[in-house]
Subunit: 96 residues, 14 copies
């Protein structure tokens, strides 16, 4: 059972690392974009609707990289292909 346990451990660790490290860049980038959107609105209130739209498109684009990380972490935790493959293999070797 050691192989299964090792894959479980590395999946747990990688899932946590992926989602936490992957939060660093997007959070900083979104903070920067939002900060400059707020300055821009204060400077040109008439263009607020235009600025908001540009901001939300940009935030969505930046957020996408964080979502890639979250997706990979979820795959590792709940749909791990290697875990399933080994589970099947060990089931067969027992069943056989």
């Amino acid at each position: 059972m050691t192989d299964l346990a090792l894959i479980a451990m590395i999946s747990i660790f990688t899932a946590g690392l992926t989602v936490s490290f992957g939060a660093l860049g997007p959070a900083l980038g979104e903070g920067r974009a939002a900060a400059s959107a707020l300055n821009a609105i204060a400077q040109q209130p008439d263009a607020a609707s235009n600025l908001s739209r540009t901001l939300f498109v940009s935030l969505a684009m930046i957020e996408s990289t964080a979502i890639y990380c979250f997706v990979v972490a979820m795959i590792l935790l709940f749909a791990n292909p290697f875990w399933n493959a080994l589970i099947e293999t060990s089931a067969q070797s027992v069943g056989g």
Copy 2:
């Protein structure tokens, strides 16, 4: 029982690492956004309501990456799929 203990240990460590490292980026990003919102309000008090709304949407977006991390840490601590799988397996091997 060693496998269970190892998974428990790596889950504990990863949960703490995830939530603490994942707090770095969002906190800095939110600080930046809030800082520039405050400057913007001071510069253009008439647009305060518009600025507040944009700030809160941005904060929510940035906070989401911290919440991903918190969710993963909670899953690791209280709904760990690998832990449950191994518990079942060891229960079967005892029951069998």
Copy 3:
């Protein structure tokens, strides 16, 4: 008893690491937000109430990531699910 001791050790270390590392980002982010709130009040004293409200909402939002870390550390120290599971298991194996 080694398994219990190892989980105790890793929980202690992770609790400390989580709460100390998790204090870095929020403290810097709050410092930045507070610094720019003070500048904003000095620049536009008439909007002080509006600025204070925005500041406190932002501080609460940023503080929340530090509180996630504190909560996880407290869970690890006082309501550690893996510790409890292993304690029960060892109690059963003794009782059995």
Copy 4:
């Protein structure tokens, strides 16, 4: 089965590392580009359509490096050539 397990482990770890580390640069770069697009729109609202087009082309270009990373991570998880090669080999050695 140790070889398969080792490849599974390294693939899991690399997939997570690739997608999380690869999110750092694009997120920061997109944040910078978006920030300066917002400033530019505030400064020259008449050129908004021109600026938006330039921004979206740039964001797509920057996002491409994040997508390279996501693609590599997906290949490692779901279409890993080395995993398949070893699976076939072990199937043959069993079948043989």
Copy 5:
């Protein structure tokens, strides 16, 4: 007695690490807030009382993350739940 000694060692190390690393962020954040409060008072002496109040609330908020760390270090040194649990266990095993 090795288990007890190991837990003692890791608690000592973690307590020191927690309180020293946890001092980094708050000290820098408070320094920034105080610096900008002093500039703000010099710029707008009439708002000094308002600025002082905002400063002290902010300092208290930032200090709170340092206090979390100090509390955890104190818990680890003087009310360590794992230490107590193991002491009781070893007392029972001797008493039994």
Copy 6:
């Protein structure tokens, strides 16, 4: 089979590392170039076509370093010369 497995592992890890680390520089560089292109267009709308052309040439040039990394990662995964050489060798030693 250990040699093959080791080469597979190091190829997997290197492919991920190459493409993720190689995304850092180009993404930041492109972000900078795009940011300053947007500022330039806002400042001199009449030169927009000239600026766009210069921007796209520069982006292509910067992107080329990311593409080198992607190419190397693909070679490592799907056309690895050392893997092929060892496969042939082991085929011969079996065939012989």
Copy 7:
């Protein structure tokens, strides 16, 4: 005697690490606060008394985090609870 020696070693190392690392943040933070107090006094000499009072309160607040570290180091060196517990235990085991 090895356990006692190990605890002594880890206490010595942690005490030094705590007090030296814990000096980094407060010293930088106090330097920043003092620097901006001096600029503020030069800019508005009439508010010197007000500025001095704010500076000293801030310095005391920042210094507190350094004092936490010093206190923990002193506890580790001169009132180490784990050291005392193990000394008593070994005295009992000898006495018994």
Copy 8:
């Protein structure tokens, strides 16, 4: 065959490291040069041809360091002198 495998492994790892690390500097440097070319064109549209020529010469010069890295990586993968030497040696020792 272990020697060959080790050289293969170190060549694979070095090729990836070289091309990815070597992309960092040129990408940042080219981004900076391009950014300032765009600003320069916006500031002095009449000198655009002169500026473009200077930019392309500079980009080529900077790109050359990235190309050195790519060349070395290709040599390591497809024309590795040490690999060839050892292949010949082992062929002789077999042939002999």
Copy 9:
């Protein structure tokens, strides 16, 4: 004698580390405070006495963290409580 030697070694290393690392922050902080004091005197020569007084109080406050480190290093070298305790213990075990 190994225990004594190990404690001696760790004390030597920690003393050096403490005093050298503990010099980093205060030196930078004092440099910053002094730099801004000199600028302030140049800007407002009439407030020189007031500025000098504030500078010296600040320098003393910052220096205190360096002195904490020096004190701990001296304690470790010349009044190390663990060293004395072990010396007594070994004297007793020889005397007994």
Copy 10:
């Protein structure tokens, strides 16, 4: 043959490291020089020939450090004195 293989491995790794790490500084330095040349031409178009000459001399000087690295990497790969010496020695020991 282990000695030869080890030297081959360390030469491969060092060649890649040298050329990739050695590309970092020159690329950044050249980017800075080129950036400021472009600004200078935009600011003073009449001195363009003089500025270009100074730029190209500077680029050549900076490029020289990258060329040192490339030369050393080529020597390590294709004219490695230690490899040749050991090859001769082993040839003699075989011939003897």
Copy 11:
């Protein structure tokens, strides 16, 4: 004699580390103070004597942290208390 040699080695290493690492902060801090003193004199030549006095007091204060490090290094090399204690002990064990 191994214990003595180990203490000698750790003392040598610590002495070098202490004095070299301890030179980093003061040198940077003094450079900053001196730089701003020179600017201040250029800006207000009439206050040169006052500025020089403040500069020298500040330099002495900053230098003190470098001197702490030098003193500790000298103590470790020429008046190492642990070395002397072990020399005496070994002399006694030989004499006895």
Copy 12:
């Protein structure tokens, strides 16, 4: 022959490290000097000859540190005193 091989390996690694790490500082320093020379010429074209002379003297001075590194690397590769000494020694031991 292991000693010779080890010295060869460490010489190869050190030569590459020396020349690549030693290229970092000079390249950045020369880039800064050249950048500011170009700005200076653009600002004061009449002093171009004087500025060029100062620039070339400075570049030569900075380049000297890179040349020290290149010289040491060449000595290590082609005139390594320790390699020669050991070669002679082994020749004597064979000859003797």
Copy 13:
């Protein structure tokens, strides 16, 4: 002879590390002081003698920390107290 060799090795390594690491801070600090002296002379040529005197005193003060490092390195290489003590000891043990 192993003890002597180990002390020789650690002394060699520490001497090099001390003098090279100890050159970092002073070189940067002196560069900053000199840079600002040159600006100051350009801004106020009449105070050149006063500025030069202040610069040279500052450079001497900063250089002193580099000289501490050089002195310690020389002591380690040519007047190493531990080396001498062990040489004497080994001479006595041979003589005795």
Copy 14:
């Protein structure tokens, strides 16, 4: 002969490390000083002789720290006191 080889290896590595790491600070410091000398000459061409003299004195002072490193590296390679001492010792033990 292992001791001699080890000392040779550590001397080679330290020599390279010393001269390459020791080039970092001086190159950056000289680059900064030269950059600001060039700006100063452009700003005040009449003080060029005075500025050049100050620059060359400063460059010499900064270069001195790089020369310390080069001297130590040369001593380690060509006049290594420990190497000589061990050579003599081994000669005596053979001669004796």
